[in-house]
């Protein structure tokens, strides 16, 4: 059971006030007409689903109703931090992690 610190309300609230909206930092293709089926498929359905550090979009559904991010561990259930949508620091960290790996799904 999570005790989640809502970065907007700025206080810890219990898990069942929130709703998880799936993997965070997924960028919608900017030019729909120039986007291939492959790119749409990846955007819509394919997820990293790691055992370990994960960044997720959550909504404080029965609180302030605002969306925000949680960075947590899917194995230990530790929450590292919660942060607002306009916080760019994790985006930068994520890009770094990805550029270190071979590009997923390129072969399909």
């Amino acid at each position: 059971m999570f005790l989640i610190h809502c970065p907007i309300c700025n206080e810890p609230r219990s898990e069942d006030e929130f709703h998880c909206a799936g993997e965070g930092h997924i960028q919608r293709p900017l030019d729909p007409m120039a986007t291939s089926d492959k790119e749409w498929g990846d955007y819509l359905f394919f997820r990293s689903n790691p055992r370990g550090t994960y960044r997720e979009l959550w909504q404080h559904t029965i609180g302030c109703r605002k969306y925000f991010y949680i960075k947590r561990n899917t194995e230990t259930y530790q929450i590292y931090k919660t942060y607002k949508l306009d916080d760019k620091s994790e985006r930068v960290a994520l890009d770094k992690e990805h550029s270190n790996k071979n590009k997923f799904g390129d072969l399909l």
Binding site: M1, C20, F46, R47, E75, F104, L107
Partner: protein, 417 residues
């Protein structure tokens, strides 16, 4: 392998069951196999069994990081049915149900398959329309199904509250008499015993930690306890760990791993001789032969690899069951556990080749793959043996997520596993 029979039971009884033969061998792996199956759950073991039995491929190893059948196979609530909505999925699950019907004889192992029928309740007008659509679709596909009204339901489950003054009154149900439950462990053990006897090596306590890939082709698996084991083909059947194993090959899947939990009560006298599921109040229940009520409901809504599940789900499941059976309010719960289920966006499995040659995945069964164990193993074995996907498996390829031909089974697979 000695055959099990009433006579052998009697004979071994004479010396206090001291000298039963070991059920499977515990070999050290060879350097090379024709086919390696990663994951020794029911699906992996069934795949190995059918590879050896039906396709004569016996140079096969199943590599399991824990013990055989210790994943979701050991943690599920064992409901078996085939009344799915769409042609593709109902054909696949019906193929499996047909195999279930003769599985104990086929394996010479009692899997305790009990066709006690499955009820899927409807509580709203829309529920009833969906049930009519699904039952009619089932019948067109030659699958047994009936639509029952509350009076008929009452005859099958006299202790359920079907009165009109409930908050969510029962308006009707779909009824699949051929559905039921089975003994989960026995299914894994039966397939393991059969496969081992036919020459398949079952390697336990050995985790696959990576793949050897050359020129876009898989040539072996890396393991923690035996190093590199080479193979001409590799089939991964690792359920909740599919994303983790896929990433070892540099692949992503349209799968997310969520905890799904279940719990059982203290054993009570026989009260429920069928399976009751309700998508609307969101819970399901059956009674095991031991007498415990087996109860489950939904997944945690966030990803996780903790095999326990969150507390709000327990409360929610109990509330759902008490809506249907107020008389169970004082039954005490005995045990609770969780498994990691591999959910897919369209609530259907992935049985597919991958962009890496000779690397196959069979996953995404999510909350409902136990019923598919024999069928999934059978079509996956056929696909691996012939290097071409089995007809029943073809619609479940990975690239359906690129051309959009999803098979939406959320209706038939909601809370109903």
């Amino acid at each position: 392998m000695k055959k099990y029979s009433a006579f052998s039971l009697f004979k071994h009884g004479l010396n206090h069951h001291q000298d039963w033969q070991r059920v499977w061998r515990n070999p050290t792996p060879k350097k090379h196999y024709d086919i390696i199956i990663v994951g020794g759950g029911g699906h992996g073991l069934a795949t190995a069994y059918y590879l050896a039995k039906e396709f004569g491929i016996t140079n096969v190893a199943v590599i399991e990081k824990g013990y055989l059948g210790g994943g979701n196979t050991a943690r599920n609530t064992t409901i078996v049915r085939s009344n799915y909505l769409w042609d593709e999925s109902s054909h696949l699950y019906e193929h499996s149900l047909k195999l279930w019907e003769s599985l104990s004889q086929e394996l010479n192992y009692n899997v305790m398959f009990s066709q006690r029928g499955v009820l899927n309740l409807g509580h709203t007008l829309q529920d009833m329309r969906d049930i009519q659509r699904r039952v009619n679709a089932n019948r067109l596909n030659g699958i047994d199904g009936e639509i029952l009204d509350p009076q008929q339901i009452k005859e099958i489950v006299p202790y359920m509250d079907c009165s009109a003054n409930r908050r969510y009154p029962v308006l009707g149900a779909s009824w699949q008499p051929r559905g039921g439950v089975a003994r989960h462990d026995a299914v894994a053990w039966g397939f393991a015993r059969g496969a081992s006897e036919l020459g398949v090596d079952l390697i336990q306590q050995c985790q696959v930690t990576g793949f050897e890939i050359k020129n876009g082709m898989v040539t072996g698996v890396k393991t923690d306890s035996y190093g590199l084991i080479s193979a001409a083909k590799v089939g991964c059947v690792v359920a909740g760990n599919s994303g983790v194993v896929a990433s070892m090959a540099g692949l992503r899947l349209p799968i997310e791993s969520h905890p799904l939990q279940a719990f059982v009560s203290e054993p009570i006298k026989p009260i429920l001789d069928t399976v009751v599921m309700s998508n609307h109040v969101h819970g399901y229940i059956s009674q095991s032969d031991k007498g415990d009520l087996v109860i489950g409901s939904g997944i945690d809504h966030y990803n996780g690899y903790g095999q326990r599940g969150s507390y709000p789900i327990i409360e929610h499941a109990v509330a759902a069951i008490l809506e249907l059976f107020p008389n169970f309010s004082r039954v005490r719960m005995n045990r609770q556990w969780g498994g990691i289920v591999d959910t897919c966006p369209d609530a259907c499995p992935i049985i597919s080749k991958t962009p890496i040659k000779n690397l196959y995945f069979n996953c995404g069964w999510g909350t409902g793959g136990f019923k598919a164990t024999p069928g999934s193993g059978h079509v996956f074995a056929a696909s691996l043996a012939k290097d071409e996907m089995h007809e029943l498996a073809k619609p479940f390829s990975l690239d359906r997520f690129y051309h959009g031909s999803l098979i939406d089974e959320h209706g038939a697979a909601g809370v109903a596993h």
